[in-house]
Amino acid sequence: MYDVIIIGAGVCGCAVARELSRFQGKICVLERQEDVCCGTSKANSGIVHAGFDAVPGSMKAKMNLEGNLRMKELTEELDVLFEQNGSLVVCTEEEQRQGLEDLLERGRENGVQGLRILEREELRKMEPNLSERVAAALYAPTGGIVCPFGLTIALAENACRNGVEFRFNTEVQKIEKTGQGYRLETSKGVFETRTVVNAAGVYADLFHNMASGTKIHITPRKGEYQLLDRTAGKHVHCTVFALPGKYGKGVLVSPTVHGNLLLGPTAVDIEDREGTDTTREGLETVAAKSAETVKDLPYRQVITSFAGLRAHEDGDDFLLGEPEDAEGFFDCAGIESPGLTSAPAIGIYLAERIASRLGLDKNLEFEPRRKGILNPSDLDLEQRKELIRKEPAYGRILCRCEGISEGEILDAIRRPLGARSLDGIKRRTRAGMGRCQAGFCSPKVMELLVRECGTDWTELTKSGGDSWLISGRNKEGIQR
């Protein structure tokens, strides 16, 4: 019998797991995919929102502000890249100015610090590549950017280090109330638990509705993105938003913590909870909309496109906590933007409630710090020399575009909750994330995975499941 089972190893599931690991308890995260950060958390803007656009008084507003305030300390503890680069919401026509004023007002009500409206002159100096049409902007100095994979993986590793169990390739199929708690039927057998955390992203309504009579409904809202090469990463310094519309915050233009430039997302409601395909129209919209706020975008530098699904709940707010009729079933549902920003606060919020419901004692051995994968390019020449002398693998560069060494990839495979697939390695090290998109490094990374994990080439995957990479040896199956 578990004390807590968390469904979903996205950023919220992992944040709850990490915060719960401050307490003594038998805690397990069930994830249907082969790795953490495989759903909504892997395909989003990576923005740490300042908190000016959520409706005052909503959970979104509260969690956003708290999450934003906690992000710096958390990312330091967990060795995750985070940068407070500031956000701009721009208006391209004078008539929209009232919209900025409204946002400013709302932001102040939400408690966001440092907001102010900037005029054309000042904006030009700050962001020379803003579109000529930009008349004014709301500036939020507390806005930032974070690596969504980095944060999720770090939370998971830290939770694991502090005793949380993770089970991958384990899909929850059915949830039933029992005398002591809940019974979860999964693709890997039955699990009994006193409490459940429903952090299942676009599937969270299905699980909620199994546990509670008060039905909720989640719509997958697709967002398509384009990622530009690092050569374009300095095109803007702040995250540039258009004025928000009915379907969210609109298409943004932002540097990433790794120095790329990100454009997107679109917002289209779809039916398919797995519908992460990009579309011609979507990619064209991203290009057209981004050009409205920022000029001279180097679209030739696009290195990849992707789509993510936001879990939009009909009530338009985060659902956090127990439904009235399902004691011990904790929703973490409807987590769309600003979900990534809010995750640190959501983790604390839910963990405290669960711990007090179960009467869990403090885990006195809790270790809040986690060390990320060593990045040799952060070292000076002498330190790097010394590192390579001790560990020659750090001197062998496998991913030339991002300059990732064999040493880093080995670390990604060997550490707790280590990578088992090409995408797992990519999300942990960036190997394969650069301009050649894994063309050169993937055979070498495959070779390492085979060597390290003792798997056969045909068992290698891009991202688990049926995403096999190699069908067999040459000439197999030829009729002679």
Binding site: T278, R384, I388, S405, C436, Q437, W457, I470, N474
Partner: protein, 453 residues
């Protein structure tokens, strides 16, 4: 900091030929830096034959062709480091590199030869909509898996793009037991060599669909199929021409991009047409003492031409080292403010001053791509450094039938050659003679164009 006269970045065909040529000029202080485990570059995975017809008048495989150069490098005792990645190159020619055995180290080079080659355009750069399943490989990655690792990336294959590697891989995958269903090419002509279309597609009954592209990718985890559609003149899909192909593998052969990240760090000016450095007749870039050759300069179809070009670059680099040794930069600066305004070396500078008629104020001619020509290499000519002849390589913009290539300086024609067909997939060359050029002077520009007759 270590010092070397010539540091060559890249030990593929370009780097090897440049090294040998520089050594043949008497230069002893050369170092080749190669990122892979062995010398030879991409040739090592090109196990098909067809290499060396121009250079050795025989058909070699890629590894055999590379071996001829590697053996020579060994024989001549030219130093090289493998497993060594260059991380940075500064405009002062300080090379920062890393390897498991040497650690991280810096070299002050007198001259640098850029020979890093190119990379393949990935799916992401095409904005191909759809899911992102496993099974989409660039043709070169598949080539490495099959030819070096002995592993098949899949069994049922569609190829997008008819670049040479794609064509070669259509044949290779077939020979290794896969079914190659179709090759789709966006353009109305193939991007590869005619001989490859015949030997790799036609001989195996693999259809080539021109003016077609992939409009949808099917399969969420592993590729299960693609939809092809015809495209119009602007490359936009034509409605109701869609055709579905089931396949587990999509190979992309949609273009090669010279890898010039290091060149950019060093402040080398790049051409938007080639994505490679702008070079003069000596293969020198806009930075003094940094030379470029091979696919990092512009993408070639035949390795033989890479070797030839690289040998010239190596020779010029050795000359540069000889001419700049022992001279203070101060003295060199007397010739003018920047490289753009002066011939390269002190000796050449004096020679130029002495010999040039006064009216040739600059002594520098721009080589311009005229009608139908996409780019030229070189794009700058310093008269003082021109030999008896100058070979200009170029590519045409589109297919031309029964046309002439001409080279003019001012009104004077320096070269004319008629050809049945010019295609963008095949690199062309024109040779001009110093004698003819002299007669055309004064002139500021040399223009190459295609004239339809």
């Amino acid at each position: 900091m270590k010092q070397h006269a010539i540091v060559i970045i890249g030990g593929g065909p370009a780097g090897l030929a440049a090294a040998i040529s520089a050594a043949e000029q008497g230069e002893k202080d050369i170092l080749i830096l190669e990122r892979d485990r062995e010398l030879g570059g991409i040739l090592n995975q090109c196990i098909h034959n067809g290499f060396g017809l121009h250079t050795f008048q025989e058909e070699l495989t890629g590894p055999e062709y590379a071996a001829r150069y590697i053996e020579k490098v060994e024989r001549m005792g030219i130093p090289y480091l493998t497993d060594t990645m260059v991380l940075d190159l500064s405009s002062e020619k300080v090379v920062t590199a890393v390897s498991p055995t040497e650690g991280i180290f810096q070299i002050q080079a007198q001259a640098v030869i850029l020979a890093m080659g190119c990379r393949e355009r990935p799916r992401g750069a095409l904005n191909l909509p759809g899911y992102r399943p496993a099974g989409i490989y660039t043709a070169g990655t598949a080539q490495r898996l099959v030819n070096v690792e002995g592993r098949m990336p899949g069994r049922e294959v569609v190829i997008l793009g008819s670049g040479d590697i794609g064509l070669i891989m259509a044949r290779r995958m077939t020979l290794e037991g896969a079914k190659v269903k179709v090759v789709a090419e966006l353009m109305p002509y193939s991007g590869g060599l005619k001989r490859n279309i015949v030997q790799c597609l036609e001989d195996f009954g693999i259809p080539l669909k021109l003016s077609h592209t992939v409009v949808a990718i099917h399969g969420k985890e592993r590729l299960t199929g693609v939809t092809l559609a015809q495209v119009d003149h602007d490359g936009r899909p034509v409605p109701r021409t869609e055709e579905e192909y089931s396949c587990d593998t999509l190979l992309l052969s949609v273009g090669l991009i010279p890898e010039n990240e290091l060149s950019k760090n060093a402040g080398v000016a790049l051409s938007s047409a080639t994505s490679g450095p702008v070079v003069d007749e000596s293969f020198q870039t806009s930075v003094n003492g940094i030379f470029a050759c091979g696919n990092v300069l512009h993408v070639h179809d035949l390795v033989d031409f890479v070797s030839e070009e690289a040998a010239n670059a190596g020779r010029r680099a050795a000359e540069y080292v000889r001419e700049t040794s022992g001279e203070s930069s101060e003295k060199r600066m007397k010739c003018g403010e920047s490289r753009k305004d002066l011939p390269e070396s002190q000796a050449a500078c004096e020679e130029w001053t002495a010999k040039m008629p006064e009216k040739e104020v600059s002594g520098i001619l721009d080589i311009l791509p005229g009608d139908g020509v996409r780019y030229t290499v070189p794009s700058v000519l310093h008269l003082a450094q021109m030999g008896e002849t100058l070979k200009i390589r170029f590519r045409v913009r589109k297919e031309y039938k029964n046309s002439c290539v001409t080279v003019h300086a001012g009104d004077r024609q320096l070269f004319r050659r008629r050809k049945q067909i010019f295609v963008p997939g095949e690199m062309e060359e024109a040779v001009i003679r110093r004698e003819d050029l002299n007669a055309a002077l004064p002139a500021d520009t040399i223009t190459i164009r295609i004239e339809e007759v």
